[in-house]
Symmetry: D2
Subunit: 140 residues, 4 copies
């Protein structure tokens, strides 16, 4: 597994509405938690995603994958660790670890494409790319 | 209870992800079903909401209420009946009944305000108001 | 408006996935935030809802209402204030205020019925009822 | 790309609440649509998932991946094609294609582990495995 040299860490409480009748958080809920992770990382790096969008750049998710080892439960306090797996001129991949008391519950990544409001592909603005370089993971 | 003289009817299957650990559809899921109801009613009335928005009018939900008598379960086929409860110059209230095999599971209403893209209050365009008049409910 | 004498306060960040194409938090998202509010209130009162459920008592939402005055936006830090509006032998109503920097965005309430695992109506366990009495609102 | 020899096909309308402020269906929504796909496939194969669960077998999602080529929009009628990618003694992978008027919007897969109510790993009941064999994909 890749090593997160520098990461953004945030904690969430699993909401009741995020569970399903198996009694664990529905697998789609994790994707909402990852949004909090990358939103936080970008803000910490000095470029709030809200501002990136207002600047005319969007970073839609074009691909994602998630592996759940242990299900998170209602009211669990879950820790989301976020780093940057790959940075290319026009795409960006975030990597995530979900933990509960240092036990690894899930791993995931989301790949984003930089586009403008009219959905034309763009280069990631260099100041944003530079700001997130410190969060690049190392091979394990 | 009000009588639905003319109504739009649609059916949905309860999704697994809409359940929670009580084993019934989470109470927030109903709001998503109601969207299908009023989207269908408006389209049947000749004014698809997609087109209303593209014409510069938005109908955000400003108030809602829902009463659940019997919980809907995973894979239940649920029938959503939608009518118009109140029509005013700038607001509009839809009324909903949720049924499973003619058993009433829930009732609800959503109130919408007509605004433009900049969130300024507007009159509901008269052609839309006229088109939905036939869906107005009668006092029970 | 009722006065919250004692309340539980929690803050959330609006998630991207909670927005809709109007650019504000979808009206169903508020219901998920309210869950965090009452979960927190109950835990603060000494009866985590997780434990209440494990003790065989469920508190499903049987009715709810919400009034949105100003839409919450992506990445907004939103404050949820929760108190108890009504306490009866078998039902319980929570009241909520949603604020952003002391501006009132929305008000709401959710009514809960106490049932057992087989959906039989029960009295709210007295120790729980007593513990939440301090959170009862005053008439405004 | 793999060829779907036999598949289950279902159609959904994209709900307003499934969109986000980019104006397309949020990437997590697709996972809910896939549930409808595999629920339908299993029912068509003679083993409704509801019955499988009541028989004491659960098929939680332990891994998933999705690639979005074109975003689905509000009110789009979207076609979900579901087949079985891999069938092993204790795991099962469904494969999905999302289309709008024969244009491919997204591809995905979900991997499921067979467990009992106490989360012990189990063999997939042979009658279920046999029933879904006809839905196995062919290499492209």
């Amino acid at each position: 597994m890749v090593v997160f040299v520098r990461q953004f860490v945030t904690e969430i409480s699993v909401r009741y509405g995020e569970t399903d009748q198996m009694g664990v958080a529905h697998h789609s809920s994790y994707l909402l938690w990852f949004e909090l992770g990358r939103t936080g990382l970008l803000r910490e790096a000095g470029h709030a995603y809200r501002d990136i969008e207002q600047g005319g750049n969007l970073l839609p998710v074009v691909e994602y994958a998630c592996k759940i080892r242990i299900g998170a439960k209602y009211d669990d306090v879950v820790r989301i660790e976020t780093a940057v797996e790959t940075l290319k001129s026009r795409t960006l991949t975030f990597s995530y670890k979900v933990k509960r008391e240092n036990k690894l519950l899930a791993t995931a990544w989301t790949k984003h494409l930089c586009v403008d409001r009219d959905n034309n592909i763009r280069r990631i603005p260099p100041e944003i790319a530079e700001a997130i370089v410190p969060y690049l993971v190392s091979p394990g």
